[in-house]
């Protein structure tokens, strides 16, 4: 080793010293970076949730109307809803059934034990 070089021991000691200095420095930038990193996590989670929802919807569509684009089952559902609502609104309400003619499971409200007392 040349006289102008430092020893391995000294070199390693210097690097460890610098590392200790670096680590003891609790910088504001680390806290800000931490916030940025967690914001990235939130963004990735949101994207993953959206992707899962899209997959769920397309699977549902595929199960109900295989091979159709999403708008077809959506349109069919919307149309059937409209028809249902229209029929419900326009048809006259049927007369309420006479309760007296319907057999009831409810207790008649008679105290059968009364005679025994």
């Amino acid at each position: 080793m040349s006289g102008e070089e430092l020893s391995d021991h000294r070199l390693i000691a210097l690097l460890r010293h610098v590392e200790t200095q670096d680590r003891s420095e609790t910088t504001d930038s680390a806290a800000a970076l931490s916030a940025r990193v967690i914001a990235d996590f939130d963004a990735v989670s949101r994207r993953a949730w959206l992707a899962r929802s899209k997959t769920f919807v397309s699977r549902l569509v595929d199960a109900t109307w295989p091979g159709a684009p999403v708008w077809k089952p959506a349109a069919a559902l919307g149309l059937s809803l409209l028809i249902g609502l229209g029929v419900g609104a326009l048809l006259p309400v049927a007369a309420a059934p006479d309760d007296s003619s319907v057999a009831s499971d409810a207790s008649p409200g008679i105290d059968f034990g009364g005679d025994l007392r």
Partner: protein, 181 residues
């Protein structure tokens, strides 16, 4: 094989657990940031490299498979690769250029670079080829074993020892003025 202390947390992150993500960040961010700063010699670029590293983790956590290398080893590998990418874009730096840059870039938020010793070491590190720099930082700065560092760099232990030896030789010459009197 010893169980991976981060394995369960990574699985939870993959399932979208924010608390687990915060724990992983608290556990590893400081070490990754210190290493990236020394790799790149630039605070802002180091932060970007660390952010990219965690972004990759968030994106791939759901596909995480336990077994093989420890999670921390893989995380450091991603961080070192992010630093390599940035160094590649920047091109090579001579010692003179590195010293100039170190003098010109004190950065108020990173007062450490103002110290002569730290500056000299950073300049000498900047002048090393990236792989030698990574080897030196992992073993002598981070204090990792050769086998662990070799796994992070994806090379054999023999190749790691060779990188270390060449890196130390270069540093010994460039930091000759810091030898003991």
């Amino acid at each position: 094989m010893a169980s991976d202390p981060d394995g369960e947390l990574v699985a939870r992150v993959g399932a979208g657990d924010r608390a687990a993500a915060r724990l992983l960040v608290a556990r590893h961010l400081d070490k990754l940031l210190a290493l990236s700063r020394r790799m790149l010699g630039d605070s802002a670029e180091a932060e970007d490299a660390v952010q990219d590293t965690f972004l990759k983790l968030w994106t791939h956590a759901a596909r995480w498979q336990p077994g093989g290398a420890k999670f921390e080893t893989r995380l450091f590998r991603v961080a070192i690769n992010a630093c390599y990418d940035r160094l590649r874009k920047r091109g090579t730096v001579s010692l003179d250029e590195a010293l100039e840059t170190a003098d010109l870039a004190p950065g108020p938020e990173y007062a450490l670079l103002n110290s002569t010793l730290s500056q000299a070491i950073q300049a000498a590190l900047d002048a090393l080829p990236p792989r030698q720099r990574a080897a030196i930082l992992l073993c002598h700065y981070e204090g990792r074993g050769n086998a662990d560092a070799a796994e992070i760099l994806g090379i054999s232990v023999e190749a790691m020892e060779s990188l270390l030896s060449r890196g130390r030789r270069n540093l010994r010459v460039s930091l000759g003025h810091l030898r003991e009197e």
